[in-house]
Amino acid sequence: MSAAQVTLRGVTKVFPAGAGGEPVHALGPIDIEIRKGEFFAVVGPSGCGKSTLLELIAGLTAPTSGEIEFEGGAIKENVPDGVGVVFQEDACFPWLNVRDNIEFGLRQKKISTDEKARRTSAVIDMMGLRDFTRSYPAQLSGGMRQRVCIARTIVAEPRLILLDEPFGALDQQTRLLMGDEMLRLWRETGATVFLITHALDEAAMLADRIVVMSARPGKAIDLVETGWPRERDSRIVERENFGAMTSRLWKTLREESLKTMGRAGSGA
């Protein structure tokens, strides 16, 4: 569990200037190592480049400078095999039923039809979607649709799962339950999980290690090891030191969030 699976070295991202504007330095330079099999979270003030960081690791966009490696290979502007992404927005395909939505994750895999069906069925059971296989996304709640998206990602058996605020649009109770679900999947699949979130308690509850990012341009300003056991669920919040954990995160983050608000207030 200690070998680095993802390495970011001096990574920056500058978006080119729009019409009449100036280039936006969104991120970095940032150096991060994500260990194989860990649950890694990133928190930071809004607009600090958290989602950009995830898109860089996913290969959805290329860094302006620096290097990103996944399992020793450089990530450029293509999604490496073995990486799955769950987005905050509803990414279910409205024209496909639940089963077809999930099986879509296997479309590009060179495996037999029988194997695809077997793996899809296994994931449907794992995610508790057995009664909804023929339902269409519009017939499901937001939480259920997000489960379908997670199922579509894990059916491909990724070694690294990137989560971009996947529970951001859900209510608090559903978020806690989905957190439990994510912890269970993390243990069962053995994959590394990289979570972007703005919710400090969510990061503190789920992650082994948490990086706190500064206001834009986002840099890693703190790294917190939670030290939670691998076998855990949302009841971890009852632990005495859980409060201290979120307090530490907030202490670091508060100043950065104020900077962001000040910038917004000054109109800069």
Binding site: A58, L60, V79, D81, V83, G84, V85, F87, E89, D90, A91, F93, P94, W95, F104, G105, R107, Q108, Y136, P137, A138, Q139
Partner: protein
């Protein structure tokens, strides 16, 4: 049957009854228009006698051909244009003003180029229909959520696979609207061209009957075109409703 559907049927039935009353009362004279029940009876007789079947088949075939070519061409062109913003920006004014262009004015020119066969009529149908398909396809593609395109990237789909498996299926309701428009324009283009200058086809027969005061032929043929358009449109609308219901959009 929904309340809306009942209202629609009531309006159509009311309009037919009004026409019937006006015709029977002599407000609309017989030379201008026979009563609707006579038009309906003439149409039934025409079908039972098998009259104009060849003409009808030929016109419908040309309409279908114009529709199919315009539809495929429009979707392909719309999908390609969507990827080239500058070209699209250049063409936008043309699309906006396209239907102000009197396409029928080019018909004599097409006859000179392609001869007095079916070609010019099909071409007019295509020219009228294709832009509606392009514009509607672009409209649908503009609405594909960015997250679905990212999902395509994550799943390793190339641009063609993305279009066929994600963006175009997402646009299916728009593509059905495009089909309805294309079919209507194909009908107008082909039948209208036959009406102006042709040697056969439904439009030609309507025109021939018109110049000969043959109301017993002209009105039933017009009614048949109307019924065929409504039938095709209803079928596409039904399909559209099924798709929208599935997506939770009414």
């Amino acid at each position: 049957m929904s309340r809306l559907r009942l209202y629609q049927l009531a309006i159509v039935a009311g309009f037919i009854l009004l026409l019937e009353a006006l015709c029977l009362a002599g407000v609309i004279d017989k030379i201008t228009m026979p009563p609707p029940h006579v038009i309906g009876r003439d149409l039934v007789n025409m079908i039972l006698a098998g009259r104009y079947f060849g003409e009808i088949g030929k016109s419908l075939m040309n309409v279908l051909l114009a529709f199919a070519i315009a539809y495929v061409l429009g979707i392909v062109a719309g999908t390609i244009l969507h990827g080239f913003k500058t070209v699209r920006d250049i063409l936008d004014p043309l699309f906006a003003t396209y239907y102000a262009i009197p396409v029928f004015a080019f018909y004599p020119l097409f006859i000179v180029i392609f001869g007095l066969g079916d070609g010019p009529q099909i071409l007019i149908g295509i020219l009228l229909a294709v832009v509606a398909v392009i514009v509607t396809t672009l409209n649908g593609l503009d609405r594909v959520p960015a997250v679905l395109k990212k999902t395509a990237q994550v799943n390793g789909l190339n641009p063609l696979q993305t279009a066929l498996r994600i963006t175009l299926p997402f646009c299916a309701p728009y593509l059905l609207t495009a089909a309805k428009l294309a079919l209507a324009y194909a009908f107008i283009g082909v039948i209208g061209s036959e009406f102006i200058m042709a040697r056969s086809g439904m439009g030609y027969e309507i025109s021939y009957a018109y110049t000969n005061f043959d109301n017993a032929t002209m009105y039933p043929l017009i009614l048949m075109i109307l019924l065929l358009s409504i039938a095709a449109n209803s079928l596409l609308s039904y399909w559209e409703r099924v798709l929208l219901d599935r997506r939770g959009q009414k």
